[in-house]
């Protein structure tokens, strides 16, 4: 599961969510744009968080050194 694969998954989830929201609450163009903005923002935030944590672990400079008694 590389970086690009999971990114595509995030994009797909975002698209599916916006389609679902458009289907369930279609209330005029300005409201639809508002819902779309919210979903895009949420998707971008969640993806950024995941990507940052993933990238930091790709080629780490440290390794876990277990503590005594484990």
């Amino acid at each position: 599961m590389g970086l690009s694969m999971t990114t595509i998954i995030f994009v797909v989830v975002g698209v599916v969510a916006s389609v679902l929201v458009r289907l369930c609450c279609n209330r005029g163009p300005s409201t639809n744009l508002f819902h779309l903005t919210l979903i895009i923002t949420a998707t971008v935030c969640c993806w950024m968080m995941w990507a940052i944590v993933y990238l930091a672990q790709l080629k780490p400079l440290l390794v876990p050194i277990l503590s005594e008694g484990e």
Partner: protein, 827 residues
């Protein structure tokens, strides 16, 4: 009905983007309504139901007493006072008023006034009668006590009193003649007519004053009195004060008229109530039975009186809410009517106010209905005015978005039609909270708590909740979003009450060899690809956990912070586009974007490159020496080829952008002002915020002086704030790291040092205590304190670091005349 639209205030604004709900405040228009006097009251009533019109006070210079409807307001005030009296009485009698028994019969205002007056008079009369009866009842009770108690000790007291008196007399007489004491004794013994007749006073005195009472009596009568007291067991209700006081029954024996007057005065002074007592036993019995009879009679009468009063109050309680509402709305209507100015002909009232453009048809509809319902011959006139005044800000929010909008409004109400940060706050605020709170166990607890509030929404919204509960209930959707994002970040940080799980595949680290000898000295090795979702579970509890996580979280904070600040700057571009302010676009937005990104955007790039390449470059060193010695060779801190050249270019760009932000804008503003001033209005003016049609009156522009030094200083402050703020705001985002660290440390301490410790003892009692302590600590410290703390810091990041890139927030809120809002206000 004449309705003609004047020029619309709004002009064709930046067609850059399609409209979005909540992004900009509703378009407002200044409206003048001319209403004939007979339909004014009904018109206002319908407009109040609608709740979309904010009236301007056209009589601001008049005092409250000079206004047209001052009398009506006085009437309403009187009725409100009567209603408050009823509410007090009902509360005292313990009758709750039924909520909202909305019998839809419209009550006539005048009738209600008369009815309220009658009820008040009746209630006052009943109350005073009850009081009188109660007082007599208490007096009779006291009398009964005196009769009973005094009867017990009266005779012994009387004989002692007589003996003492004789002694005193004997002493007085005996001083004189030594010769015939025997004779005298005999005389006294045999002479019945010389029998001492003592007078007595009986009554009740408060126990605490009893000692003082006795002392003063003794002094006043020079010891020539005999006092006997007996305590009453239960406290007695004093007829005058109505309170329960512990009292003593007393009987004072005295001789002589002077002593009597003194004693009476002393009794009055001490608040001792006197009651008559007869020494005749037969009469005593009679008195006792008489008094008992009167007592029972009075009791029945009093009970009947109370019942009558309760009935009155109950009848009031059925209609109380309705009356209350009616009085409140009438008062509001008259207050608003007072704001309208009376036309010269005295036949119609003129109202001016703000209303949203979309509400035009609704308002005209209401006006029409009012005309029809009041059988008026003349219709109302609805006229749109154009003005340079800044309109109020109005966002149409629903129950979900209103809480977020309130959070934004708490810092400052948006200027009319500027970009509303609330749109993004709905997502970024809970997200930043979650970055600081990340633990999916705690997130689930928070979610459960808020789901309980949401499912009982309808019931709770009609109840009256306490202050704290009110705040939590109002923010239930915010907390729900916070909880959902916390679950997500908890899964990423891999913390469930600080315990990691290996849920998303296998961990990337394993021992070097099967015996795991080196695990505690050299550590594990990376044998597989990076853990696919979140932080690898092997990190938790290791010795290098903190160095790794600290580095990760600090870099994450910088990346998130730079992203949010860039969003802020981009929103300022949208504002400039919307208000067609090209000066702001070219001489503020672009240099700001360049400055922030050439420094901190570059830092973010370096972070990502370092992660991707696994280089050991020291980023602090790189950034600092980029400024101190940009032409030096990078050596081992080189992350990619061409880095030195790129750094030089970026440094140059950053240096140019500072004067770019500072100088052009004031100079160009002055040039524009001069052009406008010289009447050369053929050149299309980019920077005006009013429509071209209003350019008719040039005179009004003259009083807009242009003080170049002021504008320049303003721009200087703005520039310095941005440049210094770029560094300080970016560093401010490190609080995301700090709070996240604190949360995870607290959580792991509670888990390891409480729960695991208690588990280690293998004793069920200690385990239970351990669990209880763990639960209390988690709820108290982590779920309440940490939530509030992360909430506060996320709020600060939004209010300061995000909003100071684009938000002006100096507007005022739309406050329409609405009956629904009145109800909230009073509570």
């Amino acid at each position: 009905m004449g309705d003609y639209r004047g020029l619309n205030v709004r002009r064709d604004r930046g067609g850059c983007c399609p409209p979005m709900d909540l992004m900009r405040s509703e378009a407002m228009q200044l409206v003048r309504i001319i209403v004939p006097v007979e339909s004014a009251h009904l018109t206002l009533s319908y407009l109040g139901d609608l709740g979309l019109f904010q009236f301007k006070d056209l009589n601001a210079d008049k005092s409250p007493f000079q206004r047209t409807y001052a009398n009506q307001i006085k009437r309403c005030g009187e009725m409100a006072r009567k209603l408050r009296l009823f509410r007090e009485q009902m509360a005292k009698a313990g009758i709750a008023h039924s909520e909202m028994a909305m019998t839809q019969t419209r009550i006539d205002f005048d009738e209600m006034e008369i009815k309220l007056g009658e009820l008040e008079a009746e209630l006052i009369e009943v109350n005073s009668n009850n009081e009188k009866l109660q007082r007599s009842y208490n007096e009779l009770l006291e009398y009964m006590l005196v009769l009973k108690k005094a009867g017990e000790f009266f005779y012994s007291a009387q004989s002692s009193a007589t003996a003492q008196h004789r002694e005193i007399e004997a002493r007085q007489i005996g001083d004189g003649s030594i010769d015939s004491p025997l004779l005298l004794e005999q005389e006294m013994l045999t002479d019945p007519s010389k029998q001492v007749k003592l007078g007595f006073v009986s009554g009740l005195v408060p126990k605490e004053k009893a000692m003082a009472f006795e002392r003063i009596l003794f002094r006043a009568t020079r010891g020539n009195m005999y006092l006997r007291q007996a305590a009453v067991d239960d406290p007695v209700i004093d007829p005058i004060s109505g309170e329960k006081i512990a009292k003593n029954v007393f009987v004072v024996f005295y001789s002589g008229e002077r002593a009597k007057t003194k004693i009476l005065k002393i009794c009055e002074a001490f608040g001792a109530n006197r009651y008559p007592f007869t020494d005749d036993i037969g009469k005593q019995m009679q008195m006792i039975s008489e008094v008992s009879g009167k007592i029972t009679e009075l009791k029945t009468t009093i009970d009947l009186g109370m019942l009558h009063r309760d009935n009155i109050l109950k009848n009031i309680s059925y209609q109380f809410e309705q009356w209350n509402n009616l009085v409140r709305t009438e008062k509001a209507i008259y207050h608003t009517l007072n704001m309208l100015s009376l036309d010269v002909t005295k036949k119609c009232l003129v109202a001016e106010g703000w209303s949203p453009v979309f509400a035009t048809s609704q308002i005209q509809d209401a006006l029409q209905r009012a005309t029809y319902d009041s059988n008026s011959q003349v219709g109302s006139i609805f006229q749109v005015l154009h003005t340079k005044e800044s309109p109020p800000t109005y966002f149409q929010t629903n129950k979900f978005t209103s809480a977020f909008q309130e959070i934004v409004d708490a810092y400052g109400i948006a200027k009319y039609q500027e970009a509303n940060p609330g749109v993004y706050t709905i997502i970024t605020f809970p997200f930043l909270f979650a970055v600081m709170f990340g633990d999916w166990g705690h997130g689930m607890c928070l979610l459960l708590a808020t789901l309980m509030l949401i499912f009982r929404e309808k019931k709770l919204s009609s109840q009256k909740l306490g202050d704290i509960m009110e705040m939590m209930f109002g923010g239930r959707y915010v907390i729900m979003m916070m909880a959902l994002f916390s679950i997500y970040t908890g899964l990423i940080y891999n913390e469930f009450f600080s315990v990691p799980f290996e849920m998303f595949g296998r961990s990337a680290y394993a021992c070097r060899d099967p015996s795991c000898r080196d695990a505690t000295t050299d550590g594990l090795v990376k044998v597989r690809e990076a853990y696919p979702f979140g932080v690898d579970p092997k990190w938790h509890g290791s010795r290098t956990e903190l160095p790794f996580l600290n580095s990760l979280k600090m870099k994450m904070s910088i990346l998130l912070g730079v992203a949010q600040m860039n969003l802020g700057i981009i929103l300022s571009y949208f504002n400039a586009k919307f208000f067609s302010n090209s000066l702001n676009t070219w001489y503020q937005f672009i240099p700001q974007l360049i400055f922030l990104n050439s420094l901190f955007g570059y830092l973010s790039l370096l972070i990502i490159v370092k992660w991707c390449t696994g280089s050991q470059a020291d980023l602090y060193h790189v950034m600092i020496y980029m400024f101190l010695s940009p032409t030096d060779d990078l050596g081992e801190n080189q992350l990619f080829p061409g880095q030195k050249t790129l750094q030089l270019v970026l440094l140059l760009l950053a240096l140019i952008s500072v004067p770019w932000m500072l100088f052009p804008k004031p100079i160009l503003l002055r040039k524009q002002h001069n052009e406008r001033h010289q009447g050369q209005s053929y050149t299309v003016i980019h920077n005006t915020e009013e429509s071209l049609e209003i350019e008719e009156d040039h005179d009004s522009h003259d009083h807009e002086e242009f003080e170049f030094s002021e504008v320049f200083v303003h721009q200087l402050i703005h520039t310095i704030e941005f440049v210094l703020g770029a560094v300080s705001n970016t560093a401010s985002y490190l609080r995301l790291w700090a709070l996240s660290l604190a949360h995870s440390e607290l959580s792991s301490v509670f888990y390891e040092k409480v729960l695991l410790l208690a588990w280690g003892f293998n004793n069920i009692a200690i385990l239970i205590i351990g669990i209880v302590v763990f639960v209390c600590a988690t709820i108290g410290v982590l779920l309440v304190m940490e939530t509030l703390s992360a909430f506060l810091h996320a709020l600060r990041l939004h209010w300061v670091e995000f909003q100071n890139k684009f938000y002006e927030g100096d507007g005022y809120k739309f406050a329409p005349f609405s009956f629904a809002l009145l109800a909230d206000e009073e509570d």
